[in-house]
Amino acid sequence: MKIEILAFGIAKDIVKGRSLSLDLPSGTNVGGLKAELCGRFPNFEKLKSMAIAVNEEYQTDDFSLSEKDEVVIIPPVSGG
């Protein structure tokens, strides 16, 4: 399945763009997506943390992705 992923903050710099498109095996979960991202962009390993939001909610590694999901890479936040 094709997943569109948005990137913010330092994640945008790491993937060199606001969004990227990945072709992932159907049923890939958040943990699998993180592994794929770290494989393609080793700089993600250097971050203090990396979370994934799906449809505007944080999701844990066992959450399964679907093709229409809005998937966002959330590097360490620093608002306030």
């Binding site: 948005l6 913010f8 903050g9 330092i10 945008k12 710099d13 250097k46 971050l47 203090k48 939001a53 505007e56 909610e57 944080y58 966002v72 959330i74 590097p75 360490p76 936040v77 620093s78 608002g79 306030g80």
Partner: protein, 145 residues
Amino acid sequence: MITEELRMIDIQLKDTPLIPQECIDYTTSDSAGGSTIFIGTVRNKTKEKPVIRLEFEAYAPMAIAELRKIAEQAKAKWSAEKISIHHRTGVLQIGEIAVVIAVATPHRKAAFEACQYCIDTLKETVPIWKKEIFEDGEIWVAAHP
């Protein structure tokens, strides 16, 4: 009633200067005895290194949703009457306001605790990112260990 609850929480992400009085006006009421307000401003240095300016980027719809969650939690836990949270995005100069949080509660101790909970949790969970620009480069705050 959900609509009633929504009316008591004011969340705004703005790319124009924040005005504390707006948050104060929103929360002040004839039935609450006090409001506690937190104002976060852009400091002129980080660990003694001069900062030129700051840039805030937000994943807006989720940032607003997370800010609302925080306000709802604080409202429930401390029986707050009203909560207003305004957060800035875009380019900020030194001294400009990054965030304003105002909480009105019937008892003042609760107002302090609820307000502190909001800013502490905001810094942990809300998808907003701050880039500090120095003379000689820039850095996404808190990105690396």
